[in-house]
């Protein structure tokens, strides 16, 4: 009897052990997150991690230009390939704008189904970071208002999708002078509040584009932004002191030329 008891106990212990093992093994399920070794994936990319809106305006180019290519940086997860690979994009609704302000395919941009447009979605051989292009179109409506094009990376035979937070990015397309996306608190501190009139003055003084890249470069160097501020102030002073401008009412320069009560264009002097 004792032997039987012992046998029973042993069996029970064995059973318990097997059950415990089965339980433990069963609770260890495979991580369902991205395993980057499975296939190549692609996602949008920008320095600093976040994906600020891109800005494109036809004002910077020739007045006769009707289309242009907006390049968007992307990054591949899974290493380079020794051949060119095509990514895929689709437009999704941009919640930052109304329906009317959404970009329209074939009106504001060339659809991704277009062969020429598709070729621009190439990630070149040997690259893990590259830029893919979207052809933007200069529709007359862009002179009145900007539109927003929100892009999302689509999975295809070449690429899976990358990190969730980096699959969508917006571009603002216009034929207007837009506030550069890089105009930030630093710019506000040294150059003051943004206005289109101020921007136009800055372009005239700088003698070229004062776009995202220009503003970013200025933000990065206190000395540089203070230098340019001095140049803008000098030009503003010359404009405001011009007898012809005074006589015509153009001076002093205001943020809304059509509104004589609008705020004056000024630049701060602080360091």
């Amino acid at each position: 009897m004792v032997k039987n008891i012992l046998t029973s106990v042993s069996a029970l212990m064995l059973l318990a052990g097997l059950s415990l093992s089965a339980f433990l093994l069963g609770s260890c399920s495979e991580d369902s997150g991205l395993v980057y070794a499975d296939r190549a994936r692609v996602q949008f990319y920008a320095d600093g991690g976040s994906l600020p809106d891109l800005s494109y305006s036809f004002v910077w180019g020739s007045s006769t230009r009707q289309r242009d290519t907006l390049y968007i940086p992307v990054r591949v997860l899974g290493g380079p390939a020794d051949y060119d690979r095509l990514a895929d994009l689709e437009q999704v609704f941009d919640s930052a704008a109304t329906e009317d302000a959404q970009a329209k395919a074939a009106v504001h941009y060339v659809p991704f189904s277009d062969e020429g447009a598709r070729k621009l979605l190439t990630v070149r051989a040997g690259h893990v970071t590259d830029s893919i292009g979207v052809i933007v179109l200069r529709d007359a409506s862009l002179k009145k208002a900007a539109v927003r094009l929100r892009l999302r990376i689509k999975e295809n035979s070449e690429f899976g999708v990358g990190e969730t937070a980096k699959l969508e990015r917006s571009a603002i397309i216009s034929d207007l002078l837009e506030k550069p996306s890089t105009w930030n608190r630093t710019t506000d501190y040294y150059l003051g509040t943004y206005s289109t009139v101020k921007h136009q003055l800055m372009i005239k003084v700088a003698g070229g584009k004062v776009d995202d890249e220009w503003i970013a470069k200025a933000n990065a160097s206190t000395s540089l932004i203070v230098y340019w501020r001095g140049k803008f102030e000098e030009a503003l002073e010359d404009f405001n002191n011009d007898p012809a401008n005074i006589a015509s009412g153009l001076a002093p320069l205001r943020e809304d030329a059509s509104n004589p009560n609008s705020k004056l264009v000024t630049f701060p002097t602080k360091l």
Binding site: T222, S223, V226, G230, E237, T269, L271
Partner: protein, 501 residues
């Protein structure tokens, strides 16, 4: 039958013996001692200044009756043996000018015997330390160019700019200024770092000069984004700024401890004609615009000339010429807190003594705190050089190379007992006060008077007692013509200086 047993070991032994007997000895028994080169006469360590010193070492290499090829190298002490050192001489005796950055180095000497190729390679410490921590900086003109001489108690370094850079600045000397908050790019750290710099202005040039080596950090063309014409009128300071008056405009360099400013990026807009009389006492500079006869100032946070509000008497549109402006120190640690100006009314020809706040921190109120009419006919009005005693209301001035003192209370003018020596012409005079906080034993006041001689200059440092100029305690001599002198002492809390109003 008998068996003869032959011992194998014995056979082997015999064989060996035979073999050894057949061995012929070809060795040379006449071996001489290997050549051993000894080097002496070199110290284990040397300390030199980064610029201006010469490294002179005469080693003794033995055996002396042999011929050696020698060379010397220098390499940073942190370099490994694999790194290529810099060869500084290929002679046995070393005599080279030092031109190294501050730091520790390894000095190596190699002597190689020509016949055998045997060589000796020895290493010594070389420390490059500045000898310009403390001393007198003398800004001078040499012909139509500008340079600096430096004097300590024990040493004189002449022509600092020429020695450190191979050239002087173009044009005669204008002024100098100093800051501990200039910025330079450190190649090793790959980052901008704060440094101490002396700014030197001449009529056609401007440079930021390293305080410890005299090397030019940035020259004229690199100190501006839009390079102005090389017509420098003045150089003066603000509370944390250096201003240069060039090509008709004042440009400002912010000496920020935290933000990197290397250039004079702030231009003071407008049309103005600033007097050469000005007062800068670690606050807003007190300037005078001759275009509109107004006291004014400049600031890094202002885009144009700043004016004081009107008052009685008004600091604006005075209708007067500013003929003298000097600073007084009524409180030890607020040097230059009072300024005295002598004004001449263009209509009446009368002179007035204005007392002003020498350290305006804002433009919110007139700096004029008092006025007094001055008597006619004072010799002071036609002085060649003048300097205000910082401790009392006495202006020292020279006229026709004679030294006088004018008491601004009694209006009496006294010929001083101390006079320029025969054959010497006064070219500079300034009252200098040195009073760094907490270092009272180092304080001094001097009336500095420089003269031009046939051989160059003499800079006399005269103590002043009870208003009377005493014989010089020290005389510094050099080549050229003195424009300005300043005593500077670098310490852990920054650089203390004699007043540079």
């Amino acid at each position: 039958m008998r068996h003869t047993y032959i011992s194998l070991p014995a056979v082997l032994l015999a064989g060996l013996a035979l073999l050894s007997g057949c061995y012929s000895d070809d060795s040379n028994d006449n071996l001489s001692e290997p050549l051993k080169i000894e080097v002496s006469g070199i110290e284990p360590a040397y300390t030199v200044a980064p610029v201006g010193d010469r490294l002179k070492i005469n080693p003794v290499v033995s055996p002396a009756d042999r011929q050696y090829d020698c060379f010397w190298t220098v390499t940073p002490s942190t370099a490994t043996w694999g790194e290529i050192p810099d060869t500084i001489a290929r002679t046995e005796n070393l005599d080279v000018p030092v031109n190294l950055s501050l730091g520790s180095y390894k000095l190596r000497f190699c002597a190689k015997d020509r016949q055998t190729g045997v060589f000796s390679y020895t290493e010594y410490n070389l420390n490059v330390t500045t000898d310009m921590n403390e001393g007198w900086w003398v800004l001078k003109s040499e012909g139509d160019s500008t340079d600096l001489d430096f004097f300590t108690d024990k040493k004189q370094k002449s022509d600092i700019l020429l020695a450190a850079n191979g050239h002087r600045l173009a044009g005669t000397a204008v002024n100098l200024a100093q800051t501990d908050s200039y910025w330079d790019f450190n190649e090793g750290a790959k980052a901008d770092e704060r440094c101490s710099a002396v700014f030197v202005a001449s009529k056609n040039d401007l440079a930021a000069v390293d305080f410890f080596t005299g090397r030019i950090i940035r020259g004229f063309n690199d100190l501006f984004m839009d390079v102005p014409k090389r017509e420098v009128r003045d150089l003066f300071t603000g509370p944390s700024d250096i201003h240069v008056y060039v090509d008709g405009h004042v440009y400002t360099l912010y000496n920020s401890k935290y933000s990197v400013y290397k250039q004079f990026v702030i231009k003071v807009l407008g049309d103005y004609d600033l007097s050469s009389w000005r007062h800068c006492a670690q606050s807003l500079p007190l300037l005078y615009n001759r275009s509109n006869d107004s006291f004014c100032s400049v600031s890094r946070t202002s885009s144009g000339i700043d004016y004081f509000p009107n008052a009685a008497p008004s600091p604006n549109k005075t209708g007067m010429d500013l003929v003298f402006l000097g600073g007084m120190t009524t409180s030890t640690y607020t040097q230059g807190d009072v300024a005295l100006a002598i004004m001449k009314d263009r209509k009446t020809g009368k002179h007035y003594l204005y007392t002003l706040n020498g350290q305006p921190y804002s433009m919110g109120s007139s700096p004029i705190t008092g006025t007094a009419e001055m008597p006619d006919g004072l010799g002071l009005y036609s002085a060649d050089y003048s300097a205000l005693n910082q401790n009392s209301r006495i202006v020292y001035y020279t006229k026709d190379n004679r030294l006088y003192a004018c008491n601004l209370d009694s209006w009496t003018e006294t010929l001083q007992d101390v006079q320029p020596a025969a054959g010497e012409t006064v070219t500079y005079m300034e009252y200098l006060k040195y009073a760094p906080y907490g270092l009272d034993s180092s304080w001094f006041d001097y009336l500095a008077i420089a003269t031009s001689t046939a051989d160059g200059y003499k800079l006399y440092l005269h103590p002043v007692k009870a208003g009377k100029v005493m014989p010089a305690e020290r005389v510094l001599t050099g080549k050229g013509r003195v424009r300005r002198a300043c005593f500077m002492s670098y310490g852990s809390y920054g650089t203390d200086k004699t007043t540079l109003f």
